[in-house]
């Protein structure tokens, strides 16, 4: 497989975003490393390309057409109206026409038409139907790994066609003929074996959490605990494993601990279910997604907790909020007075509503903060009890903890938000060019509020967004420290009791 292109031009940010003219094959060189047999087999996929790949791929497509209604409906309904063509951050950043959502769908649709529709069987040229060939498979692999499954296109489609569903189906077919993506599949195998994406075993985790307790003690002289495998705790907190190590994620974890401490609610992390992320969704594989999620049900039962709270992570919240009840429910063993699962932002917001938390906003007075809506939270889930709570609640937390808050342009936030450029299983250095270019729309919106409102920090509630921005901000002349966790700001402003 080709190496990631070493050198590429960094796009120039402009004040008024433009829709680029199409540049065919501009990203035809971009493809991630292919999974090796040891990454494929633990997931139940063939280790390498199978001999009868064409037959297997079509069989799989036929099977999925009968299992997922989204596929036949989305593949039939598109009228090529073009409303989605200028909505994808990867198209806006690369100008490769195959990164227009409809064109990305067409890579699968043209094969669907050839083998599964009357029009495509008898009049292939007329309706743009093609045979499944090696070139088609190659295009699938390249361009289904240039989609972050962010669903922005689905907001504007008159039929709600969601390219994420098509990308997931494409990846699922590729996995079943032995062409998986190394990054995602290696990670899923690690979760099955060890319990988290990083492959952190229990002793390392315990060590890290002890270190955190010492750090917080030194910092604010309060004995905040970060408990692990505490049976009988009220709350099981499941958070992305990046929160244990990466910056700025860990500052968010510190913040969660302070909120639990201040609220006096007992909580625990689990070494068995030490991961909220679930890359099973990225590869569109129901069984792997269910198996990853089952660790959390198992941990909740074993530890005897009453509630499950999920840390700051976008796709994890989608899986938890939208899919857990289906995959690993019912949750009749948990306290029915609380939603299952509950987002850490909902948890903190409820405490604020009850008057259980006090803030000293001046603690964040050195910052002017904006908020990056993460795609999976915005367009694939909810917080609170009303539609749009996923936009309101994190902002309320920021307003409660900061004196200076501004929003970015309306067409780049809430349901219109742009992906960070690294979501959907693309947060890997072999796709760096794609990540840098895909970040353009967000970078432009951010630059505008920096220039006009003096914004110094952008808060996010997604581990992938945080890692991606840390990496790409410097490419655009901005500091990697700009990106912060919402619960870092919450924790910094939280009045911790008598000590203050």
């Amino acid at each position: 497989m080709a190496k990631a292109k070493e050198e590429f031009a960094i796009p120039k940010l402009v004040d008024i975003p433009i829709i680029p003219a199409i540049a065919p094959d501009a990203m035809a060189h971009s493809k991630p490393f292919v999974a090796k047999p040891e990454h494929q087999e633990p997931l139940g996929f063939p280790g390498e390309l199978v001999d009868n790949w064409k037959e297997k791929a079509l069989d799989k497509m036929g099977e999925m057409l009968g299992k997922y209604r989204s596929l036949p409906v989305f593949l039939d309904a598109c009228v090529k109206c073009g409303a989605c063509t200028d909505k994808c951050h990867y198209y806006l950043g690369t100008a490769d026409p195959k990164n227009m959502p409809v064109a990305r769908q067409d890579l699968l649709r043209k094969v669907y038409r050839r083998y599964f529709t009357v029009a495509g069987k008898y009049f292939p040229k007329l309706v743009g139907a093609v045979e499944l060939s090696e070139e088609v498979i190659e295009d699938w692999y390249k361009y289904y790994h240039q989609c972050s499954e962010c669903r922005r296109c689905s907001v504007y489609c008159p039929y709600g066609i969601d390219t994420a569903e098509i990308t997931m189906a494409g990846r699922e077919i590729l996995d079943h003929i032995g062409i998986g993506q190394k990054y995602s599949n290696e990670i899923i195998a690690k979760v099955h074996k060890i319990g988290n994406n990083l492959g952190l075993p229990e002793p390392a985790l315990a060590n890290t959490l002890e270190g955190l307790e010492e750090e917080v003690q030194e910092d604010i002289e309060v004995d905040v605990k970060y408990p692990l495998d505490q049976e009988g705790a009220e709350v099981l907190l499941v958070t992305p494993s990046a929160d244990f190590f990466a910056e700025p994620h860990v500052d968010g974890l510190i913040g969660y601990g302070k909120v639990f401490h201040r609220a006096g609610i007992s909580w625990t992390l689990s070494s068995f279910a030490s991961e909220a992320a679930n890359f099973g969704i990225f590869i569109g594989n129901y069984e792997n997604m269910q198996k990853v999620a089952m660790r959390i049900r198992q941990a909740a039962l074993d530890l005897g907790v009453k509630r499950i709270v999920v840390g700051e992570c976008g796709h994890a919240w989608r899986v938890a909020y939208s899919f857990w009840n289906t995959l690993i429910g019912p949750f009749d063993f948990l306290d029915p007075n609380y939603p299952v699962p509950q987002h850490i932002c909902e948890f903190t917001y409820d405490l604020i509503q009850k008057g259980a938390l006090k803030f000293d906003k001046d603690a964040n007075d050195d910052k002017v903060v904006t908020f990056h809506d993460s795609c999976n939270v915005s367009r694939a889930s909810r917080m609170g009890d009303m539609p749009g709570g996923q936009f309101m609640i994190p902002r309320e937390l920021l307003r409660a903890s900061c004196n200076h808050y501004v929003d970015m342009a309306p067409d780049t936030i809430h349901e219109n938000t742009f992906c960070c450029g690294g979501g959907g299983g693309l947060l890997t250095d072999d796709l760096l060019e794609l990540r840098v270019k895909g970040a353009v729309p967000r970078m432009e919106a951010l630059k505008k509020v920096i220039d006009e409102d003096g914004v110094t920090h952008m808060a996010a509630i997604c581990a992938i967004c945080k890692s991606q921005f840390t990496k790409v901000l410097p490419y655009y002349g901005m500091s990697m420290d700009m990106i912060v966790s919402v619960h870092q700001l919450v924790g910094d402003a939280l009045v911790m009791g008598a000590e203050h």
Partner: protein, 248 residues
């Protein structure tokens, strides 16, 4: 009875059977295929009533398209609205006595024919002029617009240029519905109009016109946002409950 009448009678019977049977088969396919996961595009309504309202706004106002592309929305909505009124007006040729709604739009219906054409020409212009749309268009995408323009155009030509014996046409269609064939006038524009309409009916269930039933089955639009409150389980997924496990 002329050969012409027989040919057109058989053409419309065939077209009707293909349209109805094709749509029934497709709707049956969509209806029996489960949506195993909750995937509404959020923010989404939390109740069934809210979902009905959302679909209503999509069908009547093209809500999402309005967010997506103002030009596509404008031309698309003009075309669809014009077509709707024109179709209602055409019901006068299939009802006796004339259905009152069809009579109501009698006058405005003609102008709606022009509105419909304007929308179609706008859509065709956009498809041929914008590079992104040219890239995603197959020959069938242009032909569909040309077909609809030709149907509208031949209809208007009959109204303003070369009129046909509309009373005889109505007798022909009422006769078809009662299996009592009546002669069809042999006027060029009428025959072109009817052949194209029959072609559209035949193509419908095999083409992107499936967006009509498709919208109602689209899980991102027709699901309520209530996954925490209700356990959503497709039959094939429910079977996995018995065997699900964690870890290796």
């Amino acid at each position: 009875m002329s050969v012409l009448t027989a040919i057109f009678a058989l053409l419309f019977y065939t077209a009707t059977v293909i349209l109805v049977a094709g749509l029934v088969a497709k709707i049956h396919q969509y209806a029996r295929t489960p949506a195993p996961l909750k995937i509404p595009t959020t923010p989404a309504p939390t109740t069934r009533g809210g979902v009905v309202a959302r679909l209503f706004r999509e069908v009547v106002f093209f809500e999402s398209l309005f967010k997506g592309s103002k030009w596509s929305w404008l031309f698309g909505w003009l075309f669809h609205f014009g077509l709707l009124i024109v179709l209602i007006r055409h019901l006068r040729y299939f009802t006796e006595p004339i259905w009152f709604v069809a009579a109501l739009v009698q006058d405005i219906g003609v102008y709606m024919g022009f509105v419909m054409l304007l929308g179609l020409l706008g859509l065709l212009g956009r498809r041929s002029l914008v590079d992104r749309l040219r890239y995603i268009s197959a020959p069938s995408d242009y032909l569909m617009l040309v077909l609809l323009i030709a149907i509208g155009g031949s209809g208007l030509l009959m109204k303003y240029v070369s009129r046909t014996d509309i009373v005889a046409v109505k007798a022909f269609f009422l006769g078809l519905m009662r299996f009592d064939w009546q002669p069809l006038p042999a006027d060029a524009f009428l025959l072109i109009h009817l052949v194209l309409v029959a072609a559209l009916m035949i193509i419908f269930p095999f083409s992107k016109l499936l967006h009509v039933p498709g919208l109602f089955f689209s899980p991102t639009r027709n699901q309520a946002d209530d996954p925490r409150e209700r356990r959503h389980l497709a039959p094939w997924a429910a079977k996995l409950d018995a065997t699900r496990t964690a870890g290796n």
